[in-house]
């Protein structure tokens, strides 16, 4: 079965206004930026965003006003922006609904969803304002059908009397978008380096879009199945998007583009400069290929990793 799509068609088919969406990757690593820019271009909006360890990916969509509710545990391009600036601004200005969980909680909520569970019991968040304060009120939650009516429920542990559990509702995701190193036309994915929470969100979502550095044949990817992380039947669309995680990192392929992360840090300080930035890098290139051409080969080559090190030495400079 051939699931190869253009980036345009994959987003058009599987990302809709109001969707409950999760992205793969971790702050500045393997974030699906090519897909983020395509979502931006197609003007999709009103997302219920399941943030996970987020960075510029969700900050761009928040800054562009596309996110209705942001389920958050951490949002920063660590080492470049200590707190993602459009995210920070949206919460300070009260222009977004937001809910805080701990990272442990969100990761287990993804894992629970992947296991088909409607909730998952944890022992984190107790004794903190993560349980004492709700970002999104019960009333507000009842108005949004993608959100559970409760942030959590605290209960006694039925197996260990005297201990408390926090029951966390698992997200019912419409779409997961992940960027991987290798995928085959039938949707089989190979992730190199840390998989983060990507396999969980791929399994938990109704639809999964995969962008990949390399397309390899169905035969070739099966030669070493123990390296593969996602079977094809989990995936709806495979998009060949080399450097699709730029400016974030992609293990074994390229390091972050420190200059662009610094440029984004500066641009995202004000709404005006942010608009200019996403116009330059999001709207003006009509496709991911145009984006890469605008960046230029020299810039991309500079981020190539040194085999054996797994990163590009001095990439920060």
């Amino acid at each position: 079965m051939n699931k190869i799509h253009t980036l345009h068609d994959a987003v058009e088919k599987f990302v809709h206004d109001g969707d409950h969406i999760a992205f793969g990757g971790f702050t500045t690593n393997r974030k699906p930026y090519a897909a983020v820019y395509e979502i931006l271009r197609q003007r999709r909006k009103d997302f219920i965003a399941e943030g996970g360890p987020a960075g510029g990916d969700w900050d761009i969509l928040i800054g562009a006003g596309r996110v209705k509710a942001f389920i958050n545990c951490y949002t920063a391009n660590s080492g470049f922006s200590n707190v993602s600036r459009r995210f920070k601004n949206a919460i300070e200005q009260g222009t977004i609904l937001f809910e805080d969980y701990s990272q442990d909680a969100l990761i287990l909520m993804f894992a629970g969803a992947a296991l088909g569970l409607s909730y998952i019991p944890v022992r984190v968040m107790l004794g903190s304002d993560l349980v004492n304060k709700w970002g999104i009120s019960k009333e507000e939650r009842q108005k949004i059908d993608k959100l559970p009516n409760e942030k959590y429920i605290i209960q006694d542990d039925p197996f260990n009397p005297g201990q408390k559990l926090v029951l966390l509702p698992t997200p019912k995701l419409d779409t997961a978008v992940i960027h991987v190193q290798k995928a085959s036309p039938d949707g089989t994915c190979r992730i190199e380096g840390d998989e983060f929470h990507d396999v969980d969100i791929a399994i938990a979502s109704k639809h999964c879009i995969v962008t990949c550095e390399e397309l390899i044949s169905n035969e070739e990817i099966r030669r070493d199945p123990n390296l593969n992380k996602i079977p094809g039947f989990v995936v709806d669309a495979v998009v060949h998007a080399p450097h699709g995680a730029h400016p974030s990192q992609c293990y074994n392929y390229y390091d972050y583009d420190a200059q662009m992360l610094r440029d984004y840090d500066a641009a995202s300080k004000t709404a005006e400069d942010f608009e200019k930035f996403i116009t330059t890098w999001g709207y003006e290139p009509k496709t991911h290929e145009e984006y890469l051409n605008k960046l230029g080969a020299g810039r991309l080559i500079k981020t190539r990793v040194v085999p054996g090190l797994g990163y590009a030495p001095k990439a920060k400079k």
């Binding site: 971790f26 545990c73 300070e92 990761i107 903190s128 304060k133 969980d200 293990y251 990163y311």
Partner: protein, 263 residues
Amino acid sequence: MADYTNYTNREMQAVSIARSVQNGQIAIVGTGLPLIGATLAKKCFAPDCTLIVESGLMDCDPIEVPTSVGDCRFMAHCAVQWPNARYVGFQANEWQHGGNRMIAFIGGAQIDPYGNVNSTSIGDYHHPKSRFTGSGGANGICTFVNTVIMMQHEARRFIEKVDYVTSPGWIDGPGGREKAGLPGDRGPMMVVTDRGILKFDEKTKHMYLAGYYETSSVQEIVENTGFEIDVSHAEKIAPPEPEIIRMIREEIDPAQVFIKVPA
């Protein structure tokens, strides 16, 4: 010859973090200063410690300083890459272990006398004056693991009551953690600031001044702490060997990603 005796408070903070790690411990490392401290610990003070990272990387040994916990610099040369959920479960299972097998470093914007830390927002939660990243891995860490807390030592940060408890410490004193449903035999061990080291009284769980740097003073610390603090146990902390400072500057953070070298 470069001068390695002109160490800064921030370098002293990194050295203090490094000195808190013991051989055989598993240290959960975040980004920034803790990373410099943990790397220094592994190189100098506790070569048999193991570094792990909340994105699921186990037994890390980075050559170049990573900028985040998900950085490829951490992935390269680590022993095992777990899915994120596996790390979370491993950390939670510390509940059953007891003892001090693990140690972790967390930071924050505000701290109270019982070591409760805020890294979420300043002001009203829904209309904050300033919003930060959110918990990240810190809440899970402080639930199950003994912590060393890194803070900038300023009166506006050391306050009677934090605006938002992201990472519970000893809550409201003895028994506070158990009442909240947290393990009572874990909690904040130490606060390492750019002026000194604070610990928690075993009986009252209240913070006290344990030590001050040669570059600081008891008076300066009292002035920069927004609550009453016992200074009767405060001792001057030995300065770092120049060789340690050389390692930070030349080997661990030569690009000055997290620690600036004085001009």
